[in-house]
Amino acid sequence: MLQCHVKGCNANNFPLELQEVVLEEQEAELNEDFLRNMLGKLEYEALVATCLKLNIQDLPPTIPEDAAYNDDFLQKLHHALLETHVITGKMVCPNCQHTYVIRDGIPNMLLAEHEV
């Protein structure tokens, strides 16, 4: 969902690459309507690539055709999107190598003055 917003970094700034992550899982209620709504907004390939890096391998490589009503798929998507939290780590922009540090689950998106 995030892309690099450093000034002048317009191309190839998505997805941010996660490094040195510590994951935590928190159970959340499954909300199918919400997931269906999110389906259209997701860059699915980027999500799968990110998940593979984080060792979450249950997402299928392509989006199933009946995604909106495939309970099994929605369950997996739900797990990846809402139950997996990155507690500490770094997000690195693939283009300009800007590093956003994540502490206590809060990414620091502040930019230095020359980057605005």
Binding site: M1, F34, K41, L82, I106, M109
Partner: protein, 284 residues
């Protein structure tokens, strides 16, 4: 009215103890929750639809609680780390970011179904550092916000404008970034309950369909003039413009009227001519 934005930048005002005090204060919490509820109402999302909402300046997640109760999934960012720590302690349900609204936001285009922000915009109008230009920061803020919203989504900002110029500045920048919409003022006649909500629409969901700006609360009696009420037109007043000069009471019309009356009585009267009631020259 106290204006904390004049004292120091937000990350300092809401740092350390102040963040805890702010959240523990039940009066502030109640006001925040009420405003968040009203903002959510203005967002006008379909009933029972769990949206993905952005909360700008989420602080300790007071307004997020309202969103959560309504069944929405929210993401919040704030510039004050201390406030975010409090939010973590309170186990806020949304994802949190440490971010400066004036630097723009890094969300993918079309991510959010709506956006609320409680008491934030007035902070953006201040320059806390030498490198801050309020107008540029607003511009960056609104343009990145516009792209991160779904087409037809609304963004509701509750804020405390200092003066009309500030409203003009904010609205001007927002319109330039592509937003439609306007200002909704709740309880415009009350000094204390008066609340400003900037209600912006990011494009149109169905092209060509204009969204209606919602009505503010407590201004029913102020709407369009009703039937039989006073209608205002821009018609100019006809007749002579009143001046300070005294007009003579016995002018030509008065003389003609008197002569007519005399004729009706059968009195001997001079006939009317162009000399009748004409002004005499001074040397006469």
């Amino acid at each position: 009215m106290s204006r904390p934005e004049h004292l120091a930048p937000p990350e300092i005002i809401y740092g350390g103890d102040e963040a805890k005090k702010y959240t523990a204060n039940s009066r502030i919490a109640a006001i925040q929750a009420e405003m968040a509820g009203r903002a959510l109402e203005l967002l006008n999302l379909p009933e029972g639809f769990p949206g993905y909402i952005l909360d700008i300046g989420c602080g300790s997640g007071l307004s997020g609680e309202v969103l959560e109760e309504a069944g929405h999934i929210w993401v919040g960012f704030d510039i004050a780390p201390a406030m975010l720590e409090v939010a973590l302690e309170q186990e806020a349900s949304g994802d949190l970011f440490l971010q400066d609204a004036g630097q723009g936001m890094a969300f993918r285009p079309g991510t959010f179904d709506g956006c609320i922000s409680i008491s934030v915009l007035q902070w953006l109008c201040n320059a806390d550092k030498a490198s801050h230009h309020p107008k540029q920061r607003l511009q960056r803020f609104f343009s990145t916000l516009y792209s991160s919203l779904r087409r037809g989504a609304r963004a509701i900002f509750q804020f405390y404008p200092e003066n009309d110029d500030q409203i003009q500045l904010i609205m001007g920048v927002a319109v330039r970034c592509g937003f439609e919409g306007g200002l909704v003022v709740d309880y415009p006649n009350s000094k204390k309950a008066k609340k400003f909500y900037l209600c912006l629409f990011a494009g149109q969901e169905v092209p060509g369909m204009q969204q209606q700006l919602p009505r503010g609360l407590g201004e029913e009696e102020m709407g369009e003039p009703q039937e039989g009420g006073v209608s205002y037109t821009s018609k100019k007043r006809t007749g002579r413009v009143s001046s300070n000069k005294r007009r003579p009471l016995k002018d030509k019309n008065w003389v003609l009227k008197k002569k007519e009356q005399a004729r009706l009585k059968g009195e001997k009267t001079a006939s009317d001519s162009r000399y009748t009631a004409r002004k005499r020259r001074p040397q006469f």
